[in-house]
Symmetry: C2
DNA sequence: TTACGTGCAAACGTTTTGCACAAAC
DNA sequence: GTTTGTGCAAAACGTTTGCACGTAA
């Protein structure tokens, strides 16, 4: 059974992969929500949206789609692997309570930042070939703020 | 057998933990090298330095030391867990070839950076309670540069 | 009809846990 | 003597793989 969702079918076939239903559903989920799902969360989200996917198929397809450059594999500070439809360089806002990640851009003088050694006996960062800088803004998402406020009230 | 290394003994006992030899050796290794070892690498490094440590003891002690705030658990972009003696806010330079991490500070106008939404339908980062910003400079470490240069020559 | 995708179950590497023994207080 | 740490072996967890079958070109 081929995938009927035109835009995703095209994206996938451009990469010389077969546009199967499983692949289209994964791409559709990520594009529609912009969420950074862990594989486990994705399995649950796909189950809620209709037919469940087997865990092996999910992992196999996530690997294929990531290899093809259609999605990006990222690992949050909590160590959980997540997938992002945004494969262009960008930054993240991470909730330190629940680990949820949000894609963000940045306003400000990014190009003026330079790494400098922290210790006297440390090698000089200038000896590294430098590439991009990735910013990780840490914070508490609105949902966790509400949950924390509730817990604080309950303990009064 | 208690640990004799005065400075580490004190650090550990201040946190109401017993300053055992295993814990002192772990702290000593991290302080002396400033390396960001994975547990597996640490096991190997400790073996080379003398008596090996059992893997269970290593994990148990890494967890205790991290809970006590004596070391920090960090997860690199490659998904490997590593430990850092520097528990103060700081930044990292990450080798995109081997995954090695270096502690760095930053020069430049950090405080002027603000996250901004990337998509039209995205929630506003301003609704998050914001904390610190963590910078991840990506690059290639000197060792990997040399290895890459060698491989390039060999293929000529 | 040949290549590729799916899903089960088994294997894998990393991390955690239960437990008996040893060491520290 | 009670609490805490160690180390083995077993379990748990997330992820990958082998394989038989199904589907696509």
């Amino acid at each position: 059974m081929a995938c009927e969702r035109e835009q995703f079918t095209k994206l996938i076939e451009q990469k010389n992969l077969r546009a199967t239903e499983a692949r289209c559903r994964i791409l559709e989920l990520l594009h529609e929500t912009h969420e950074h799902y862990t594989p486990e969360e994705m399995l649950e989200a796909l189950r809620e949206r209709g037919k469940p996917l087997s865990i092996a198929t999910l992992y196999q397809n996530l690997a294929k789609l990531a290899d093809a450059g259609l999605i990006a594999r990222i690992v949050g500070p909590d160590g959980h692997t997540r997938y992002d439809v945004n494969t262009l360089p960008h930054h993240h806002l991470v909730c330190k309570v629940c680990g949820r990640m949000l894609d963000v851009g940045v306003e400000g003088p990014l190009q003026d930042l330079r790494p400098v050694a922290l210790y006297d006996d440390e090698e000089d960062p200038a000896t590294w070939r430098l590439g991009e800088v990735h910013l990780e803004f840490h914070g508490v998402c609105p949902a966790c703020q509400a949950r924390l406020a509730e817990a604080a009230e309950a303990s009064d």
